[in-house]
């Protein structure tokens, strides 16, 4: 690299400089356009609405206030919505993580007849649109009187999150060196204790990723929550947010603040676990 750049003529050096300036400009442009909607939400949250409800709107916040958060939580049942979301998410996380560990261990570390068929089964269930299952499930739930309960909703969220979670953890289990497994077996560990004492501890980041995906599958889910929970008392935040605009006396900055509060956790956790989540979403075909 050093030698080639030393050989470059001044003219091509100039071209290189122009090239890198253009590259930076392109990157800045792309990043700004991408991030703008999120920025706009933050601006609409933080400034008093006399600036927001003005055309043309100012591009930068003119004044920053924080009273909207207090008003939002004081006047509207947002805290209750978030509590419901948290409960659904936590139940989904526990159940999904347990089932995921079982499925991923069978899919990754054990050799058995029907293993690839099980993989195909997961793939197909992962790819079905949620709406297709909604109607019969809704009918079944209403007949069994399971509607309007947080746990029965969490259980449905798990059904949709499970395949992705199993792929995530399978990929992580796959990366545990076979030598380590064989050594444990030779040392007299049973398969279950190998899983418990060796594979799981070595896969902690993967387990965290699975817990994150399962948790926010429940937290973010809108469709099933909107259909299966009728009572306002049980409404989770994903559904609550969509009703907020219709409530009287909700100011723009409170509305946007609610959206922001709802999004902070999923954004932070998804970003920190993105590599794992991507490998799960592509059924292990791509390691992000």
């Amino acid at each position: 690299m050093m030698t080639t750049s030393a050989l470059l003529s001044p003219k091509s050096k100039l071209r290189q400089t122009i090239g890198s300036v253009l590259l930076y400009l392109a990157i800045i442009f792309v990043t700004l356009v991408t991030i703008f909607p999120v920025y706009w939400m933050i601006v609409a949250t933080l400034q008093p609405n006399k600036y927001t409800l003005h055309y043309p709107p100012p591009l930068f916040p003119q004044e920053i206030i924080f009273s909207q958060f207090g008003e939002l939580f004081g006047r509207h049942p947002v805290a209750n919505w978030l509590k419901n979301s948290f409960l659904i998410a936590a139940m989904s996380m526990l159940l999904c993580t347990l089932l995921t560990v079982m499925g991923a261990y069978a899919l990754s570390s054990l050799r058995w007849r029907g293993r690839s068929l099980f993989g195909l089964f997961l793939l197909v269930t992962q790819m079905l649109p949620e709406v297709l299952v909604l109607i019969p499930l809704y009918i079944m739930y209403s007949r069994l009187e399971l509607l309007n309960q947080l746990p029965t909703l969490a259980v449905v969220d798990v059904a949709f999150a499970l395949p992705v979670c199993i792929w995530i953890l399978k990929g992580v289990f796959d990366s545990v060196p076979t030598e380590v497994l064989d050594a444990a077996l030779v040392d007299g560990c049973s398969e279950l204790s190998t899983a418990w004492r060796i594979v799981l501890p070595l896969s902690t980041p993967g387990l965290v990723a699975v817990a994150v995906v399962a948790f926010f599958a429940g937290w973010n889910e809108y469709l099933y929550a909107s259909i299966m929970l009728g009572s306002t008392e049980l409404m989770p935040a994903s559904v609550g947010l969509t009703t907020l605009k219709g409530l009287s006396g909700v100011q723009v900055e409170q509305y946007m603040a609610a959206g922001l509060v709802f999004s902070i956790l999923p954004v932070l956790f998804y970003l920190s676990m993105q590599r794992y989540i991507i490998s799960g979403l592509t059924a292990g075909a791509v390691k992000g």
Partner: protein, 319 residues
């Protein structure tokens, strides 16, 4: 125990990895454990996904009214006959095709473009990449909240841009004009999805051998030739896979369309998934919705099979 373990350790440099794997497999074959582990999952997915699908297929041959207490009656292919004669059904397939194709072009295009940009080393790259991933990490409901606000005909910031276009003298009704509504639903879905594709493509780009580029540069290839003859073939299998994944994700897309337009105006954004939902939960036409659900099921099954075939091919290539 000890000597066996020690002996194994001594031999470890002599034994080829493949043989060790084979030993492991032999030791772990033929027992019940995997089936016991997998059974609860099969039952779980069976109850919550497979059995509803089967019930939906059965329901599509019947007439069912939930509100009244009429028994479910077998009607044969009546729902399907109605579906084939229903212009709105065909319209929803057309909308699905348009929506999916546009999202594939725009989201994968933006993904490829950003992946190429971010494949070059530059300062603050990790920070810029994290920023770029934010749309993907954002939950759908707040995404819709932001965009409905941005597109607000009275105060929306997008109008500032639109007014720059000659001839636009008033703020457009972004979600009331069929073509505009479709364009926005596509753009929002693409905005949310492209970081994912970008990151996957970036990984593929980084796996293309640098030596190939160096060799081609020595031979005097220009940037375009490098892209066409080295980059594109290098990421072709990944691109194929992503096209299929993008069509699956677009077919599944519900919340963004539902909350932005509800399928309107006049069905302009009513994809098959939206149509099924509206039939069932707005018009309480369960049996008809079930028949369309079977159509949707077959479509997603076909795409899933294509994905499986591509993935198997890709696995072979990378083995």
């Amino acid at each position: 125990m000890r000597d066996i373990a020690d002996g194994r350790a001594d031999n470890s440099t002599l034994v080829k990895p493949r043989m060790k794997v084979a030993m492991g497999i032999k030791h772990r074959r033929s027992n019940l454990l995997p089936y016991l582990l997998v059974l609860p999952i099969l039952l779980y997915e069976g109850v919550f996904i497979i059995s509803p699908i089967v019930q939906g297929i059965y329901g599509s041959f019947t007439s069912l009214e939930l509100a009244s207490n009429k028994p479910q009656v077998w009607v044969g292919l009546a729902n399907y006959a109605r579906m084939f004669d229903d212009p709105e059904f065909w319209q929803s397939l057309k909308v699905t095709l348009i929506f999916t194709s546009l999202v594939i072009i725009i989201a994968l295009g933006a993904g490829l473009l950003t992946a190429l940009l971010f494949n070059r080393p530059f300062r603050f790259r990790p920070a810029a990449r994290a920023l770029l991933m934010i749309p993907w990490a954002f939950p759908e409901v707040p995404v819709v909240m932001i965009f409905i606000w941005i597109l607000n005909p009275q105060f929306g910031v997008i109008n500032v841009l639109a007014r720059l276009i000659p001839g636009v003298n008033e703020n457009p009704q972004w979600l009331q004009v069929p073509e505009l509504a479709m364009a926005w639903v596509v753009l929002i879905a693409s905005w949310k999805a492209f970081p994912f594709y970008s990151l996957v493509m970036l990984a593929a780009l980084q796996s293309v051998s640098q030596e190939l580029y160096d060799a081609a540069k020595v031979d005097g290839a220009n940037t375009f030739q490098l892209f066409r003859n080295i980059t594109m073939p290098g990421i072709a299998t990944t691109l194929e896979l992503l096209v299929v994944l993008a069509s699956i994700f677009s077919l599944k897309q519900f919340s963004i369309i539902f909350l932005m337009t509800g399928g309107g105006p006049v069905g302009a954004t009513e994809t098959i998934v939206m149509r099924i939902y509206n039939a069932a939960f707005r018009f309480y036409d369960y049996s008809y919705a079930a028949a369309m659900g079977v159509a949707g099921f077959l479509i997603s099954l076909i795409i899933a099979i294509v994905f499986i075939i591509l993935q198997a091919r890709r696995a072979k290539e990378y083995a």
